[in-house]
């Protein structure tokens, strides 16, 4: 058997009382055999408000250079220049590992996009990005009684097919705690690299007993055990050989070049690229999660943002390396079934502020990435950067509701019914039509 035997195995998937009574009860060998395909959805939250005009720069906009000033980047083909996305937009050079995916049709960009939030508070903006509600802290009455919950958790409740391994959870947060977007009634797991020695199984068994009936600790411990059994098993499987994006005919451009990791017994790095690769190893097995969340900070670039190099470039690089690493660690079969959405709470001001940075804005960009994606395009109703076109005279005017993108992905990728999406996932969004055609059929 490939998996390591750990303290966690005997406790997982059993009624807690049984686990305590029969600590020797058999190991739950997870089958790694080929199984029916199932879609995977990863949501990456960029906390702190990514500058969409820097990540994907509208270099063809006549007002781009004058509005952005020192933050404007060189055109494609020039030193430290943008990577062209088809003539009007260019990808930030620090996102180079993703450029080949764009050209292969596996990365789509949405621009001038925003959630319904029109304030400029990070915390309200993230709250709304995660709850899926139309106004901060105001759950519609139909959902209020369910307590605090995120839209991705509510989406789990609508999955058309149940998980083939009922003892495993379809939702996973990469981190110690579960972010709001994935919290709610549907049980989910979370994972972070272990750093302290594991206590013995017998002791864990007695804690399970002690936590019985505790509304907070009992479910968390049960999910922790469940998730770590799966993680130990999945990580015991060597990572597949790196899969490069298919070559792009005749263009000779850069290819995503992150080497896939060797089959390390247990990843130790908590940084984004390492976590993304680990996530891919969790997504590969049939027993793995169907929906996962990752978070990445460092986007609140009020000062010294830089252009091709600098603070923002330093934040973009690990994002791109991580996403490319995820793609390359997934098996080709699962990569074809995967979509990754990358979202942030709002954009940043069009003009540079007084300290070489940008302040909180409105419209920004979002990404859709994966083998299941119909990409290679920037989807936008571009409002322009000329002063009169700006939102409140300072921000990129949002022309696309982020929920339209997310609803399109939930419907066409995960197969969720639109009525259910409108009723529980994104309430008050009936007027926001899903974007069609984002996912290969």
């Amino acid at each position: 058997m490939l998996f390591r035997s750990t303290r966690r195995q005997f406790l997982v998937g059993l009624p807690v009382s049984l686990a305590v009574a029969c600590p020797g009860f058999g190991s739950l060998a997870l089958a790694m055999a080929a199984a029916p395909t199932a879609r995977r959805l990863v949501v990456v939250i960029l906390r702190g408000a990514l500058d969409g005009l820097a990540a994907v720069a509208p270099y063809g906009d006549p007002a781009y250079r004058s509005q952005r000033g020192p933050l404007a980047m060189a055109e494609p083909g020039k030193a430290d220049g943008l990577l062209d996305l088809g003539g009007h937009f260019g990808l930030h050079p620090a996102l180079a590992p993703l450029h080949a995916f764009y050209r292969n049709g596996q990365l789509a960009v949405f621009h001038a996009v925003a959630s319904p939030y029109r304030g400029r508070s990070h915390f309200d903006g993230q709250d709304l990005l995660e709850t899926g509600f139309a106004t901060p802290r105001q759950a519609p009455s139909s959902l209020r009684e369910a307590g605090e919950s995120g839209w991705l958790n509510r989406a789990l409740g609508l999955l058309p097919v149940s998980h083939p391994f009922p003892q495993n959870r379809p939702g996973l947060a990469m981190g110690q705690t579960v972010p709001l977007i994935l919290r709610g009634a549907a049980p989910v797991s979370s994972w972070a690299p272990a750093a302290m020695p594991e206590p013995n199984p017998d002791l864990i068994g007695r804690l399970v007993q002690l936590y019985l009936g505790d509304p907070l600790l009992a479910p968390a411990l049960e999910e922790g055990l469940r998730g770590q059994l799966f993680a130990d098993t999945a990580l015991a499987v060597p990572a597949p050989a790196p899969v490069s994006p298919p070559p792009v005919g005749g263009m000779g451009g850069p290819t995503a070049a992150t080497p896939a990791p060797a089959s390390a017994p247990r990843p130790s790095g908590g940084d984004f690229p390492a976590l993304a690769v680990t996530l891919a190893r969790f997504l590969n097995p049939e027993a793995g999660p169907r929906v996962a969340v990752m978070e990445l900070g460092g986007w609140d670039t009020h000062a010294g943002q830089g252009a091709a190099k600098g603070r923002l470039a330093d934040a973009l690089r690990p994002l791109a390396v991580g996403l490319a690493g995820l793609a390359q660690t997934l098996t080709p079969e699962i990569w074809r079934q995967t979509a990754v959405v990358v979202v942030t709470e709002f954009g940043r001001t069009v003009a540079v502020n007084g300290t070489g940075g940008t302040d909180h804005g409105t419209g920004g960009c979002a990404f859709l990435f994966g083998g299941a994606v119909v990409g290679g395009r920037v989807m936008t109703d571009w409002p322009g950067l000329a002063q009169p076109a700006l939102f409140e005279g300072r921000d990129l005017m949002p022309t696309l509701d982020l929920r339209a993108v997310l609803k399109g992905v939930l419907r066409d990728h995960l197969g969720l019914p639109i009525a259910g999406i409108n009723a529980t996932v994104f309430p008050d969004s009936g007027a926001v039509a899903p974007v069609a055609g984002l996912i290969r059929t």
């Binding site: 906390r47 702190g48 000033g69 020192p70 304030g119 400029r120 508070s121 990070h122 915390f123 309200d124 901060p136 605090e148 947060a173 981190g175 110690q176 705690t177 579960v178 919290r183 797991s189 979370s190 972070a192 690299p193 272990a194 750093a195 302290m196 020695p197 594991e198 206590p199 002791l203 864990i204 007695r206 804690l207 007993q209 002690l210 936590y211 907070l216 600790l217 968390a220 411990l221 049960e222 999910e223 922790g224 055990l225 469940r226 998730g227 770590q228 790095g269 908590g270 900070g297 460092g298 609140d300 009020h302 000062a303 540079v352 502020n353 007084g354 300290t355 940075g357 302040d359 909180h360």
Partner: protein, 535 residues
């Protein structure tokens, strides 16, 4: 009426930081009185902070190092050499630290030499025990002087870059600060007061996720928070916002009035980060009734509030400087109030007005009630605290007293889950055993709550859902096992149980703890029990 043992349990755990041995007995006869006595300033400073530098000293050294770096970039012939003295905080930098100075006395190094540093500012959760990234080269013979050390000796410029050297020192200083803070909490004789320090420090979060403040976070808490925890909110607000740590953390140090002297001859201008976060997080709250125009106006008011830099001769207080040349001239209007041009005084007046604003009273009362009563605090308690805040003009000592008098705070013994920091500190206090502080800091980092490293300006969360997730619970249990093994030789489980969770322990917890196979396991189970995980 809550029973007496339960009252002392709540006093020691809910309001305090978890009981030291015998502390519950001290609180037993008059738990409220025991807490209120701690609201009187006793003037003592925890020995944990001995030898740690003031904010002005760190800021001064940073300014000198920047200055030296600028000098080092010029051709040697143009270098004017080491700048003269003239400010008390001047000390040697890097290789010069500890060396005799031309002016006489010997300057002690800011921190002892170190062999390895970690980078606490990079925001990842990598464990502390990873291999060292940087090693300080041995000092060259003869030392050097600030500003002149790296000049004229090309071979050593790379190794002795004064700024890099100082940054390395400051990271080590940060580790000492993080450890000192834990030590101060673990040994506090006035634990209620110490909890208030932590609460207000979190309310006015500065975090090493911005590396600029790495060396200043400890000084910030000592200089801006501690003196005011039972003083007036207005004074704490002013001290916190004027502190270099805050001005750097939220970018105000570089914000420039577009029509100021400097603004007119450069492309630089406003940065609205600090202004927005003061309104949203420190005073009115996000629903406090301000708009984008208020944010801009407040940012303009605060222009000129900056930090000692190269070529500044007067450090002011703690390294704060007001720069008239960057202050936006003219009248501003904030929340409907006009502020005629008044330079530095505009910001002082605006902060005073914000401190007295009714929305601030509401915001602060809600946060306090959430910390001391429940994640979803009862409206009546919030309203009462709000009234005390308003009626007393933001007297934080009176406010803390009102908390002690709130019946809601005594109604439910285990309403709050402990944060990782509270779990660790209460364990240390319960046993009186403190293991090497670097280890504790590393473990807290692993548990997701290293001191002074909150993920955003909003500070550490104060609700259970943000702290208890599947992986977080596994890591807490792993930490409890680690602590159990470490403490086993020094404690008796039955005594420790009585001294900690005695009044609230359920029969099943007693049974599991007392029947454990070893002392280490008994302590692990006790620390991990639902009762000990709460306060």
């Amino acid at each position: 009426m809550t029973a007496a043992p339960l009252m002392s349990f709540i006093a020691v755990n809910r309001f305090g930081l978890g009981g030291r041995p015998e502390e519950r007995a001290a609180a037993a006869s008059d738990p409220r009185g025991w807490l209120k006595a701690q609201l009187a300033e006793d003037g003592t400073v925890s020995p944990a902070f001995a030898g740690l530098p003031a904010g002005g000293e760190v800021t001064g050294r940073l300014a000198r190092a920047h200055e030296a770096e600028q000098e080092a970039r010029r051709p040697p012939s143009l270098s004017p050499g080491a700048p003269g003295g003239g400010f008390g905080a001047e000390t040697g930098v890097g290789a010069g630290a500890g060396a005799p100075r031309p002016g006489g006395g010997r300057v002690p190094p800011l921190v002892p030499p170190l062999s390895a540093v970690t980078d606490p500012a990079n925001g990842d959760d990598a464990p502390m025990r990873r291999p060292p990234k940087l090693v300080i080269p041995p000092p060259p013979p003869g030392g050097g002087t600030p500003g002149g050390a790296a000049v004229g000796s090309e071979a050593t410029v790379g190794l002795q870059d004064p700024l890099k050297q100082l940054q390395i020192e400051l990271r080590d200083l940060f580790r000492r600060e993080a450890g000192a803070r834990i030590q101060a909490m673990a040994t506090a004789d006035q634990p209620f007061r110490e909890r208030l320090v932590a609460f207000w420090s979190n309310h006015f979060t500065v975090s090493v996720r911005r590396s600029e403040v790495t060396g200043l976070v400890g000084a910030f808490e000592r200089e801006a928070i501690r003196p005011h925890v039972t003083g007036h909110f207005e004074d704490m607000l002013l001290a916190a916002i004027r502190h270099p740590a805050m001005l750097l953390y939220l970018d105000n140090a570089q914000s420039i009035g577009p029509h100021s002297q400097v603004g007119l001859r450069s492309r630089r201008g406003l940065n609205e980060n600090l202004a927005r976060e003061i309104l949203e997080l420190r005073t009115l709250g996000v629903e406090g009734g301000y708009g984008q125009d208020d944010v801009r106006a407040f940012a303009a008011i605060l222009t000129g509030w900056s930090v000692l830099g190269p070529r500044d001769v007067d450090g002011g207080t703690n390294g704060f400087v007001f720069r008239p040349a960057t202050h936006e001239p003219g009248e501003k209007s904030l929340l409907g109030v006009r502020y005629p041009e008044g330079g530095e005084s505009e910001g002082v007046a605006a902060l005073a007005a914000l401190a007295r604003h009714p929305a601030t009273a509401r915001h602060v009362a809600t946060r306090l009630a959430r910390h001391f009563i429940a994640d979803q605090p009862p409206a009546a308690a919030v309203a009462r605290l709000e009234r005390v805040f308003r009626d007393s003009g933001g007297d934080l000592g009176r406010l803390a007293g009102a908390l002690v008098d709130s019946p809601e705070a005594w109604a439910e013994p285990l309403a709050k889950i402990k944060t990782p920091e509270e779990l660790v500190v209460s364990t240390l206090r319960a046993t009186g055993v403190i293991w090497p502080l670097d280890r504790v800091v590393g473990q807290l980092r692993q548990l997701g709550q290293m001191s002074f490293s909150a993920p955003s300006p909003a500070g550490w969360p104060d609700v259970a859902g943000e702290w208890i997730g599947p992986e977080a619970v596994m890591q807490r249990i792993e930490w409890c096992a680690l602590a159990g093994h470490r403490l086993a030789p020094m404690v008796r489980p039955a005594d420790l149980l009585e001294a900690t969770i005695g009044p609230v322990a359920r029969p099943e917890t007693r049974q599991v703890v007392l029947q454990a196979a070893s002392v280490a396991e008994a302590v692990t189970l006790l620390l991990a029990s639902p009762e000990f995980q709460r306060r």
